[in-house]
Symmetry: C2
Subunit: 637 residues, 2 copies
């Protein structure tokens, strides 16, 4: 964690100084704003936390509820989400309070007494085989609390406008704030009366029954299956020995997906309520909790549940829907989008793969920096077209995966020939539910794979997968990727060729070019901003850290900035042998020993892999993605 950069900070370092629109931010929803976020769920709150890092942007987030979410809803947290929490600064805290999934067990009918269940398989959870982050279970309410804190403690000081309901919107062809939005106080609010506000951009994070989706005329395509599930969060005493283990239970009497929750006592159960008649007309949703508990006991036989408290429960039919496009621009229309959809507003599916909240957050992470860039003048508005293009295929993959998983989960025992099949499927597809299968295709923000071989372990379009290295300034072993905070900046990782720091080398030549007026730093950093305001440029040497003389490292990797002009010591790393570390990132990620530049986007996805000598290609990449600030300066003058 870096702080004291603008002078000594005595208190909580996680609270950044307010800046820009975060200074004296009005408590009341103003008439005009840059971004209006509709809904404070996982996508909306992540967006608020991200845009709080762009304090020149006026961001408001409206929420129909009168305050924070208290109960229920999602609870599955992929490793990719924990990685994202790390970027927002609260991973260690949420990990400490969450349930960590170490195992998933499978139960089926006892061949000798088919009315009883027995444990048929144990599988280690995939998380730590895939990344350094765990697979957690913690209530959505707590995830939102942490993002709310990040939004409020960021320079933009963003807090939700509670008790405000979205009514409708109209996108006009012109004007600085072309989106006209009608809002009204929620039913529970003391205030009354509809009002009209205007925004440059609106993001619909308003859930499966999204009003924003309806307002822009997007279609939610798909339907409900004829299968209903009860879900309950309960405190119980039980003789079921796996109460604290994630389990898929497949009994003659039906199926249960059993998910232990944070705190050591609570668990969530998804309980099979069976097929729904064609003429049911959603009457199944009225199933009382007593019936759900009775079904659970029936399925768990010979074990029993003695329910002491029901924290939350619900009944739903599995639906699978994807919206036809995630923004308001129709095919063939020639303009940048003004309205976006995220999360359940554009993809809904079963809860049982534990994906929804995670994919929603990644929607927000994908869109947040793009809005921040465009509204700060760093990138052209066309950047916003990549949001729907990148995220819609991810939603489709999710639906496809979830259909397969939820139908496997709903089978009757007699439909199962291989009792290990579910376990095999679970492990075989682990990268997907971890959140690491997402790969964005080539665009102005992801290059083609011409030089991929120089860094085979950093696939273009996938998220930058961290490895431990040694920080040269202090000899601490740290995860290279964990320095990539969600601060809206681009990361340039310059992996050095073989010569030592200060010796003539491809890295030295690259560093010299990076310090020149031709470099992306010079072209795309706004006048007057700190040299590291847009680009975070790091060097990773092949030597051991003792053999990197920091005095001889090019200054571009030791920039000075801030009001005190202080040197940042934490951008120089070493990959060679270290008593405290066993991996070498060059080997682990198959990096060329002739050096390679890896560019990561502000949302941590790999954007470019280039030789150190390919300065023209690096320039061209950023020229395609970002605005040339020198042009702006000459227009302004």
């Amino acid at each position: 964690m870096q702080f004291h950069h603008h002078g000594y900070v005595s208190g909580e370092p996680r609270i950044q100084d307010a800046a820009g629109t975060g200074i004296d931010r009005p408590a009341e929803l103003p008439d005009e704003m840059d971004v209006l976020i509709v809904g404070s769920g996982p996508a909306g709150m992540l967006l608020a936390a991200q845009l709080s890092q762009f304090p020149d942007v006026v961001t408001r987030i409206i929420e129909r509820r009168d305050g924070r979410l208290v109960l229920g809803q999602a609870d599955g947290i992929q490793p990719r989400s924990v990685e994202t929490f790390q970027a927002f600064g609260f991973a260690e805290r949420i990990v400490a309070e969450a349930y960590n999934i170490a195992w998933m067990n499978f139960w089926g009918p006892d061949p000798e007494n088919p009315g009883d269940i027995i444990r048929t398989a144990r599988t280690e959870d995939y998380a730590f085989k895939i990344s350094e982050f765990p697979h957690l279970i913690v209530n959505q309410a707590r995830v939102l609390d942490y993002f709310a804190e990040a939004a409020e403690h960021g320079p933009g000081r963003i807090v939700p406008d509670y008790g405000v309901e979205f009514v409708g919107l109209t996108v006009h062809d012109e004007g600085e704030y072309p989106v006209e939005v009608r809002v009204r106080p929620s039913a529970s609010s003391a205030a009354a009366g509809e009002r009209t506000i205007r925004a440059k951009y609106v993001v619909g994070c308003d859930g499966a029954r999204s009003g924003v989706r309806a307002a822009i005329g997007r279609k939610h395509v798909g339907g409900f299956s004829a299968h209903a599930w009860g879900v309950m969060d309960v405190l119980v005493n039980t003789d079921f020995p796996d109460w604290r283990v994630k389990c898929a239970i497949n009994a003659k009497a039906g199926n249960i997906l059993h998910i232990p929750r944070e705190g050591g006592y609570l668990s969530r159960m998804y309980i099979d309520l069976g097929a729904v008649a064609d003429d049911d007309d959603h009457r199944v949703r009225q199933t009382p909790i007593e019936e759900i508990i009775r079904r659970a006991n029936e399925i768990l036989h010979p074990y029993t549940l003695d329910v002491r408290q029901v924290a939350w429960h619900s009944v739903y039919e599995v639906g699978h829907r994807v919206t036809d496009k995630f923004d308001d621009v129709d095919p063939g229309e020639e303009r940048a989008p003004r309205v976006f959809l995220t999360g359940d507003a554009c993809h809904t599916h079963s809860a049982k793969a534990g994906q929804g909240m995670n994919v929603s957050m990644q929607d927000g992470f994908n869109l947040g920096w793009k809005l921040g860039h465009v509204l700060s003048g760093l990138a052209p508005a066309s950047l916003l077209e990549t949001y729907s293009a990148e995220r819609q295929p991810v939603a489709q993959q999710l639906i496809d995966f979830d259909k397969q998983w939820s139908s496997l989960m709903a089978r009757k025992p007699e439909e199962i020939s291989d009792p290990q099949e579910l376990a095999t499927f679970y492990l075989g597809t682990a990268e997907f539910p971890s959140g690491f299968m997402t790969q964005y295709g080539p665009s102005e923000i992801v290059t083609d794979a011409a030089h991929q071989a120089l860094a085979a372990g950093f696939p273009l379009g996938k998220r930058f997968k961290s490895v431990e290295v040694t920080r040269v300034c202090d000899g601490n072993v740290i995860h290279l990727g964990h320095h990539a905070k969600a601060d809206g900046r681009w990361r340039l990782y310059a992996f050095a060729d073989a010569p030592a720091a200060g010796e003539p080398s491809a890295l030295s030549a690259w560093a010299e070019w990076m310090a020149s007026p031709a470099s992306p730093v010079a072209r795309h950093t706004p006048a007057g901003a700190d040299v590291d305001a847009v680009f975070d440029v790091k060097a990773i040497y092949q030597q051991s850290f003792q053999d990197v003389d920091i005095s001889r490292v090019p200054r571009v990797f030791l920039p000075t900035s801030g009001p005190l002009g202080l040197t940042d010591w934490e951008k120089v790393y070493a990959a060679g042998p270290d008593a405290w570390r066993t991996v070498d990132i060059f080997e682990e990620r198959e990096l060329s020993r002739d050096g390679v530049v890896v560019v990561a986007r502000p949302d941590q996805y790999v954007a470019a892999v280039l030789p150190l000598t390919a300065t023209d290609e690096l320039s061209a990449f950023f020229a395609g993605a970002l605005v040339d600030q020198r042009d702006l300066a000459s227009i302004g003058s």
Copy 2:
């Protein structure tokens, strides 16, 4: 982290329910209280956090300042202190913001240019060789913030009474509140006028010039050396390559102890100001900051410091003093103590071994549970005599170590024959500055070593050193010792003999006895309290966790408690092979394969090591340490 035990908790689980005196705690300092803590430094704030776990005890903490500490003072954090933070629930947060010491480097005169310094040695820091916790640097103000949060979020809801100054006290021979204390508003306070309050016990945590120490007539024995040091927390730019590494610099021009601080930019320097003349009369303390910076530059030559901001600075002469006794009972006097001294109030020394704050906190940890026990009726008042008996020898060891270290640090280069000597001393004595050398002698709360051989790796009187095990209920690998929160409870670790759970075994017999009216649980748990209110009883099996059938584990290890009567699943562990773990606690701590019971005190020190069959000895131990609640019940009836 365990919660939801009394029903579903939606918000921050680190905030416990208020209870007892924590419900509607008066904002104003009352006339009478059980414990009055004087001073809100590290010892005082830890005491407040600990006593917040005893909400039946009325605890107040007065502080002369008007609010939280803002600047300066201690910053070195031993691994033992981080272990203590873990017990108080904030280790992961403070680790995330602190500077982690990975290396200590040594600098001396360049033989070829003796006016220049060169690096002479690098040593890996000892922390991770000694425990799973790091060696940190973070400002005392932040440590106090976290303890303040723990005190306020505990059931007792303790917050300091700021702006109140201690004037004096008198210990009377009788009365329920025998300590009469005079206090007055601080000079800066708007209020005026001295008042008298009364307490059962008073703890002086009021620093080197302790008024409490003076009031009970204790002598602070020792003196100042004739050597002065300047200390400064500074933000600089520099070409000194080890700005971010802890260094001992021994130059012809003098010595520097250099300590990087949290946040990546700030460092602290202790700068040798040389010998002080006999007639100096503390005039050296007026040395201006410019002179300190000039000296630093002189010592660092050929490197230079460009100081951009001085966050804090001070000048001091090294003093070494220990108070003759840490409570108010004179030798030969036959009564339990009423007044205690902690921290700098009873031991002062140089800052440079980074010990002061750490030893002070352990003073508080040692005393806190004892006060809680006595005032809750769990233990006789004589328990309080063990505080001075246990902590005074620790203070003396600290002074002896620090004298040696600080004189080594103050030598001139020509006094040093072996340039590696300082490095060798540093590593050779690592267990002491880690905080793990403390070993309390036999007393009513530490047994003799008759059965030590059954658990050689848990030395009696030393703190319980954690090892990873697998939690049976969910297959998570966790640190056994990290479950030992600072909740004022005794831990009984029953390491099983070889038979599996449910089979006839020494453990099964012990468990049966523990569930009987003869057990310490039955004798020493107050009537009406939860079965685990005083004793946290855990089992550790030799098998792999898959081979421990939790259904067959004795119920004493799966207690039910709280208003919902919920089962605690998290007291049963397995030590056998596990894909996620490499150590076996039986091997790592040399535990008898015939089983052994290890008792740890509420402050985590090993109190007893006994065979599973030695139930009489276990009974006798607790009969000597705790009050028999059945006697109280019969008196009451």
